[in-house]
Amino acid sequence: MRYFRKEKIIELFLQWTASLSIVIVICIFVFIFKEAVPFAKHPGLGELFSTRWMPTSPQKESFGLVPLVTGSFVVTVLAMLLTIPFGVGAAVYISELAAPVEREILKPFIEVLAGIPSVVIGFFGLMVLVPFVKSCFGLATGLTAFSGAVLLALMAIPTVTSISEDSLRSVPRSYKEASLALGASRLRTIWRVTVPAALPGIMAAVMLGTGRVIGETMAVMMVTGNAAIITFWPFDSVRTMTATIAAEMGEVAFGSDHYRALFCVGVVLLLATFGLNVAAQKVLSRYRMG
């Protein structure tokens, strides 16, 4: 009997650890919303749609999220445009074309890239990438959305590559053999058989990469210039939502309008990542059924 009781305890403990993440997610949602909601009462939700983010202005404080949302949007889209071809391309090469020796060299390096702390990447960006972008494109300054996107791509590529590679490798051998037996070339087999078969995994990888890109803070704060202007031009300076929270959260007094506004930014970020995850799940399940 004692054995069963002990097993029960261990089982309960494991169940508790497994459900902990659900509890934490709920707690975060509740807490962030609780702190953000009073904003609707005082300055009013309309204030969030203003086009100016001037939270400490002595003239008139304004808390328009529009420049921050477009800033995050521009950086994320650009970063993904860079990440997808490089990340998926690298995965295809490593899993399908590389010789075993090449693979042994490539994989550890990609893993090292994944492990570099973002503040180190940000420092590298400020000292090396920013002057490079400036001289490369003949700009007045290299502190642009594009520089931020390049750094974010550096961080997202390892994630996308390693997950895509796993899913490419798990495509059954028989698929490839059948295709080759039918006379398809090696490249044709890759693009028409292997990659489509691994697509759900690749999409999951891209979604995870996007998640990392939206949430990344330090590196972006150091190289995008943080000017809160509304722009879709890659070579303008932008201020992202994450950088805004990081730069301003330390300074606000608890309970002020500015404090509430920062939690509103947090809510928008949370909803964006949540929406992204839900969309990813939908796409994945549809793909599996079809």
């Binding site: 400490t56 003239q59 007045a140 502190l143 000017a227 608890f254």
Partner: protein, 292 residues
């Protein structure tokens, strides 16, 4: 399943209990803190070198006290003082009435001590031909009224405006004393650190930025410090110890320590040390101007 029951030995039970004990022990160590007397100082990034030097010298004199110094910006320090998470706040701007009110609501009466003076230097890229600007022109540049350098006596180039983040005391002081409380242009690039402003101004030809005098002098070979005129007809004054003390240089400010008026003896001893001759010697060494 039943067959396994006999195989469960007492050893495994002990291992299980040991694991639980270990977990409890870990929680206990995290929960309890150290016993040594300590002072925490938080606030201005501009002052962080100065305050650390004071802290080091002070700890040498009184080894029983540990002084922990962190930056984050004057606003951060003041918020921490209001929220009771720091004992001393180093600030490069004075506390606003609104903040004093917030502190009072939390039952904290704040005490202000001026411990040093600092000039804010305006810096441009060494390739920029502009050598001096008056306060009016600086305000026009920083509010976005001037967008080209030729409006302020320079080349026909777009002005790149660099500023600190809004949590910085330098940001608030510059806004109050140069911009006369007008808003910064939204195009101003808000940099997370003084070093990032120096770095950007040294690489971007059309950039303008402002930093504490100590930092500007240390980076003299990377950026050009420009003279500031109080108004269009006054002579241009370069920032230096003499011009800041005499008040000739227009953009200078006092540096403060803010404390809870109900302070411990250690905190009082620390503030007295900052104002002592030894403390003011450190002020001079760090590139700031003494208060005596």
């Amino acid at each position: 399943m039943r067959t396994y029951e006999n195989e469960i030995s007492a050893e495994e039970d002990i291992a299980f209990i040991a694991m639980v004990c270990l977990l409890i022990a870990m929680f206990c160590t995290f929960a309890s803190g150290g016993e040594k007397k300590s002072i925490t100082i938080k606030g201005s990034d501009t002052m962080v070198h100065l305050v650390s030097d004071w802290a080091e010298a002070f700890m040498k004199e009184d080894p029983n006290v540990e002084v922990a110094v962190t930056g984050g910006g004057s606003g951060t320090g003041i918020a921490a003082l209001i929220n009771g998470t720091t004992e001393i706040c180093a600030s490069s701007r004075d506390m606003k009435e609104k903040e004093k009110q917030q502190a009072r609501e939390k039952g904290i009466e704040t005490k202000e001590v001026i411990v040093a003076r600092d000039g804010i230097a305006v810096v441009v890229n060494p390739k920029n031909p502009v050598k001096e600007l008056d306060i009016q022109q600086l305000a026009q540049i920083y509010t976005g009224a001037y967008t080209k350098w030729n409006q302020a006596g320079g080349n026909d180039k777009e002005i790149l405006v660099f500023s600190r983040e809004s949590s910085s005391g330098t940001y608030a002081f510059f806004q109050e004393h140069v911009l006369k409380n007008k808003d910064y242009t939204p195009k101003a690039k808000l940099m997370p650190a003084t070093s990032a402003i120096i770095e950007s101004v040294s690489t971007d030809e059309d950039a303008i930025g402002y930093v504490g005098l100590g930092y500007a002098l240390a980076a003299k070979d990377k950026v050009k410090i420009i003279g500031v005129k109080a108004d269009a007809n006054s002579p241009a004054i370069m920032p230096s110890d003499e011009t800041v003390t005499s008040g000739q240089y227009s953009i200078s400010r006092p540096l403060y320590l803010y404390l809870n008026s109900k302070m411990t003896a250690d905190v009082k001893a620390f503030v007295d040390f900052c104002l002592s001759d030894a403390g003011q010697e450190i002020v001079k060494k760090e590139g700031y101007v003494t208060v005596k």
